[in-house]
Amino acid sequence: MTSKMWVTMGPQHPFSHGLWTLKVRVDGEVITDATPIIGYLHRGWEKECEHRTYPQIIPMADRLCYSASMTWSHLYVMAVEEGLDLEVPERAQYLRVVADEICRIQSHLMWLAAMGTDLGNLTVFLWSLREREIFLDLFVKLCGQRLTTNYPRIGGVRNDMPYLFERDCMRAVERFEKKLWDIIALMDDSAIFLSRMQGVGHVTRKEAANLGLTGPTMRGCGVDFDVRRDDPYEVYDLFDFEVPVSQDGDAYGRYAVRIEEMFQSCEIIRQAMAGMPDGPVRVKAPRNVPAGKHFARLEDPRGEGLMYLISDGTDRPYRLKVRSPIFVNVSASKRLVLGARMADVPAVMGTIDMCLGETDR
């Protein structure tokens, strides 16, 4: 006997990682329909920005996502610099790249920790957070904060790297590249983990592109695109790194892409530290942005971030539109969970790495 019913998962559910709801219609155990519900955290971020001066928005951009604050404030200052037509000093561009990649590693580790608990492996959670702490310590050295970093500035970065930062950074990276294998072993050598990840939440390449999935979620479905490589910003075109792509299209493929991205980030940090030029880290930026329309895009740890800025010549933006990767990825959740079983939902939705701050804005 089968029974069809709607089950509401969330807003307070162990798998949801933030306040959002996934209503699923189940036929027995199989999901036949799903509706994501968001909006619990809508703060009118874009409207708030219209009432603040350009530098005041940098710390607000940090709060779009607590675990990717560096990339969000970076994206915002890039959009403003596009409007000012400002040339950022090369050393500042290198520092931004290093900071972005540290941010990517710690964000992916946060995801890995969450993924571990979702699938019932508490050791993964503890070990991932332990490794993440080392990268957060690097943030503390660089800009004095663990999460809301407030580091990029319009025209550069807040400060040069402190004494011995390069040494600490290289030590952290080298240690991490060994330690990550321990965590991988915990996941990949576990038959339970593999059986829960492989073959669930399958999406084809064409669907992934059409659904607007971006970032590791999209690359795990076979779309070979990374803004850092294909539409380079800052100095990313100077570095030699690979963009991991998985043709599997299932939850395991998306997991594997994120793991490999962490190794690639280590590689980028190493190259950026080796090639770091001397010079100023910040130029003085004018207060008002001349009237115009500009946008910047960047590879956030979760996907493609885009900010569309309309300036009207005053010291405040006329309109600032944020394209959040998770906002679009979660809109595809119906397609992702369709046909899966109830117990697969945490495994499938875990791989899109939810962050509600940027989704609801």
């Binding site: 909006g39 592109a209 059409n210 070979d224 539409d231 895009r297 539109k321 394209r323 595809a332």
Partner: protein, 158 residues
């Protein structure tokens, strides 16, 4: 397939401009271009046709963003479309008069535009024709106002 008459896998910026002006003439105006960027403005009536062409022929597989702008004299919908093979991005803006806030939805072309259009609808009140599910998304469903319009003032704002 690249270079074929009816399909371009990775069209260059020059090709995009040339093909669009040949196909749409004065209905699509070029506002500017630079490396990997094309800026266009289009007539509202031809948005769906234009987007369909950009998707089917020029292979822009993703609608990165759809957003609204309130210019007080009129409104605008801005589309950012991206190609996964060469990183080219097209920005299209289309003017919408205040007395008829309607534009064709591009969700039938790009599923990823779905929530962007719902968001634009609830924050600006722009209606997207043929949208599969045009309801409020971020704000409570009983709201009767559109908070991102310039006529909506924040408290303590001048």
């Amino acid at each position: 397939m690249a270079g074929n008459d009816d399909f371009y896998e990775a069209p260059t910026v020059e090709q995009v401009i040339e093909l669009l002006s040949a196909k749409f003439g004065d209905d699509v105006k070029l506002r500017g271009s630079k490396a990997r960027r094309v800026y266009l403005s289009a007539k509202r009536e031809r948005i769906y046709e234009l987007c369909e062409y950009i998707h089917d022929v020029l292979n822009f597989e993703q609608a990165s963003s759809v957003g609204g702008v309130d210019w007080e004299t009129h409104m605008q919908v801005v589309y950012h479309l991206s190609n996964y093979f060469n990183g080219v991005m097209i920005e299209i803006e289309t003017d919408i008069p205040l007395d008829d806030l309607r534009v064709d939805s591009v969700t039938p072309i790009w599923e990823g535009a779905n929530w962007h259009e719902r968001e634009t609808y609830e924050l600006f009140g722009i209606v997207f024709n043929n949208h599969p599910h045009l309801e409020r998304l971020l704000t409570p469903c009983d709201y009767q106002f559109f908070p991102f319009r310039k006529s909506y003032k924040l408290r303590r704002a001048d």
